[in-house]
């Protein structure tokens, strides 16, 4: 905590990583949907 207090640029870094994680989760959700579509197409 003290380290972050003194080097607050790393807070900005962590925040950027959190946002990247959110975008990544959105990609995963789309990926999951596409896989279901693929599966459905294969079953037909």
């Amino acid at each position: 905590m003290n380290f972050l207090q003194d080097n607050s640029i790393y807070i900005v870094l962590i925040i950027t990583l959190i946002i990247w994680t959110g975008i990544f989760l959105l990609l995963l959700a789309t990926d999951k949907r596409l896989k279901e579509i693929e599966k459905e197409l294969k079953e037909q």
Partner: protein
Amino acid sequence: MKIDFFWKGLLYILMSFVIIGGISFPLVTEVTEWYHFPFIPGLGEQAKIIFFHVPTSWLATISFLMAMIFGIKYLRSNNLDDDAKSLAALQIGMVFVILATVTGSLWAKFAWGSFWHWDPRETSIFVLMLIYGSLFALRSAVENEDKRAKLSAVYSIISFLTVPFFVFIMPRIMAGLHPGSGSDDHAGPVLELKMNGNMQLIFFLSLFAFSILYFWLWNLTYKSIIIKDKLSKKYI
């Protein structure tokens, strides 16, 4: 095809520039070069959060706007594709509203001393999350898809009416800790008057880059929802 490539290439270049510039450009007391940011007393390096935190709440706002626009479109056309577009916008908006809250709360820990304060800005985003969160509960509770689409369209129109108030008005007129609030008359790079030109450049480039990213994500999401719906209907 070519125009598509142009937007993606632009997104890649702009976002890379914003990440590099937003994190690494030096803070100086006297600004002489175009890549210098002014040192803001009390905020210091923490001021750089503006390049990443504000765009997330901006994206939440435009996705709720798109949800409303396609809600209206659905009510006019009764086309379920418009409902899928509205739903995709709602999902992305929800993710970004959560990201704005989490990043803001982490920043608050170091700028204000604790993760949550019930500052006007925090209260308003919390209420927004409740409003839009209940929309998902509403959607999952209705079986009939036309009825669900209609309810969701009406709800998304009504709830968007609160968005300008909660995002732009209430936190600005009430006294609070958040930069840009009513009692903020010294620090705070939020208002354009107080942000210097170099910061504004990166800030608006960041908003622009995030907006391109948003439309790309939205496109992928609603296309996959529409295809999935069509497929499951075709074979039943």
